[in-house]
Amino acid sequence: MEQPSPQHRMRFHGSGGEYFGIWIVNLVLSIITLGIYSAWAKVRNKQYFYGNTELAGERFEYLATPKQILIGRIITFIAFGIWLWSQAFSPEFSLVLMLAFFIILPVIVVRNLRFNARVSRYRNVRFDFTGRYRAAYLNLFAKPLAVFLAIVATMGISMIAGEGSALAEGIGSLLAFLVIAPLGYAWLFKNAAEFIINHYRWGEHSFAASVNTRYYVKVMAMAALFFVLAIVVIGIIIAVLAGVIASSDFAYRFDELMEGDVIGAGIGIFGFIILFYLGLFAMGMIFQAFIRVKLRNYHFNQTTLAGNIQLKSELTVLTYIGVTLTNLLMVVCTFGFAMPWAKVRMSKMLADATSLQGELDTLHSQNLQSQQGSAIADELADGFDIEIGVI
């Protein structure tokens, strides 16, 4: 009879109170040194979060050195400055910069993934990312370009072939944006995910995943459906509110307006605008949470390590929204001082939802290399807010 393989749940041991001390000392020293210490602060932060993440009785480690981070930060700071100024003063130059940035983006992605993997260690063995630039350019540059061209070509052909008829153009646009764009986008996502996951290693063992384009289409369709429903709901709420105002209050407000007491009327309009933005914000948040959670779960659940250890993620959209929303409120109400608790809660939530199934205790590995490379790409990705990775 086959024994069921053991399940190892990830656990996060940090606490907000404990981390607050680390966070505030980091902040104060960063202020005193005019930001230079922030490189040391980042390393200490990461060490705290990695070191408190436990799997099968052992904890992760973060090994980057502050000097690597500092060099990366300085270069990013300069690049960011040039970018901001070029935006303000020379749109042409800023366009050239943007183009150059898109061209080197795959290199930045690969170097960033590699650096982050190599400075992460578990059981004295480092992770690695072995994806090559060639594959990165194929999956993150050439294929996206092909999808983009396919969309443009569909529009172009429908315009030329239809000889300017509105019907042909309409069909072309529908085809481009409702069929080619979502399918193409799902296909790109599949390629990027497989490229990234399949090139991760832990020492001599590889991670492997095969994902299905259909799943991405499904997630996108559900997200789109939610979006449409939300718009309908918001539309109904606005219509009802407008009706209420018209029937009861509006005449009174209108009088006010006529008599010059405009402030009362102004507040009504202002409140309406705030309500509208809140609705928009909530919609965006739910939308983002849904896609994040679904994809994280999917990518983990499709991934194995060393052939027989199964990764698992069981995050729910509701938990995710609950934690991020309460975090946001906490941080806003405390002018940022609740940040340590917010970060710890986030880490706890992610760890609690993550597990590995398989014989982890007998799995051993060793380092294949020991070079780390530079942190420039890592800091560039941070500085320019590039979201890399599939988790």
Partner: protein
């Protein structure tokens, strides 16, 4: 003192439990066949002491030793001058409280003095070509999207220009040589200043003033913005502020972006309220100094400020201080000899 730890072979996940002896003069003896001689603490690399995490010690042969933190171990490290001083600070309630206060004070000081002063200094150091390129771009965009050519007659336009030059000749020299631009914008009575010294006035505002004399206050208000180099100050300040927030909260993602943006929006609003007041004071001072028609100019200011009143947002949300307060202040200033 005797301790138990876990020893990982170099570059490998193979590990075993070991006992070790903490000796005098920083000698660490691992009771294991691979380490017959005691190791010297100065040869080892220690991980920081973060929270209650186990301590990691890298041995000279790259093997790793994992030890739970204990008072005895930490005391032994301290007595051998290998304690983690920063970890001590992170655990001291007094220092944490001091740190919180320091952060609040720094934030207030930075907001009140350091940020505006630094931004002002940088903005004033920038070569004039920066301001002129910027102003030109803005004007081009406005001509493209918002404004049409002025519908005023040539005589009216010439008279306005002449009056503007006369006004300038009475003022001390301004950072950029100001020029007056007239445009037509449907319904929009407005005046504003650009980075390169342009003062833009719409026909509709001109119509509202009724006479060229009554327009002096508005023109002086805009010239006040130029005298204080407000446009460039704002640009540099908001850039600096965004950079600063990104450095401090750099490793935060997701909804925090929204927070950072809201914060910089709010801060920018509060700064520009100050700039509006300073421009009002400038206008008031020079209206009196040039012997302009104070009543006509006050009335013009009043009607300009009351124009947008219908959609007025609360004060904290607005670039301009609360209209009534602002007008009262302006009136007071004009009354003073």
């Amino acid at each position: 003192m005797q301790l138990t730890g876990r020893l990982y072979s170099p570059n490998s996940s193979q590990n075993r439990e070991v006992h070790l002896q903490l000796g005098a003069e920083g000698r660490l003896h691992i009771i294991d066949a691979a380490y017959p001689e005691p190791l010297q603490l100065s040869q080892l690399t220690l991980s920081p002491q973060l929270g209650k995490q186990p301590l990691r010690i890298t041995l000279p042969d790259q093997a790793q030793l994992l030890l739970e933190q204990s008072d005895g171990l930490l005391a032994w490290l301290r007595s051998n001058k290998q304690g983690d001083r920063i970890a001590g600070w992170e655990r001291s309630l007094k220092l944490i409280a001091l740190g919180v206060m320091l952060c609040i004070v720094t934030a207030l000081l930075a907001y009140r003095y350091v940020l505006p002063a630094t931004a002002g200094w940088i903005a004033d150091q920038l070569p004039p070509v920066v301001a002129s390129t910027l102003g030109e771009q803005t004007r081009n965009n406005m001509e493209k999207w918002m404004f049409d050519e002025s519908q005023l007659s040539d005589e009216q336009q010439q008279a306005m220009q002449l009056q503007f030059q006369q006004l300038l000749s009475k003022l001390p020299e301004l950072p950029h040589s100001p020029r007056l631009y007239l445009y037509s914008a449907d319904e929009m009575a407005n005046a504003f200043a650009l980075a390169d010294g342009s003062v833009v006035v719409t026909d509709q505002l001109f119509a509202m003033a009724g006479s060229a004399d009554a327009l002096q206050g508005v023109l002086l208000h805009e010239l006040g913005h130029l005298a204080h180099n407000d446009v460039m100050h704002t640009l540099v300040r908001s850039t600096l502020f965004t950079l600063l927030l990104n450095v401090i909260f750099g490793d935060v993602t997701g909804s925090m972006d929204l927070l950072v943006n809201t914060a910089s929006f709010g801060v920018e609003m509060s700064y520009s309220r100050g700039a509006e007041q300073a421009a009002d004071d400038f206008a008031c001072h020079w209206l009196k100094a040039t012997g302009a028609d104070l009543d006509a100019n006050y009335q013009m200011m009043e009607s300009v400020l009351n124009m947008g009143h219908g959609h007025e947002a609360p004060e904290w949300f607005s670039t301009h201080p609360d209209t009534d307060k602002r007008l009262a202040r302006f009136k007071d200033c004009l009354r003073q000899p």
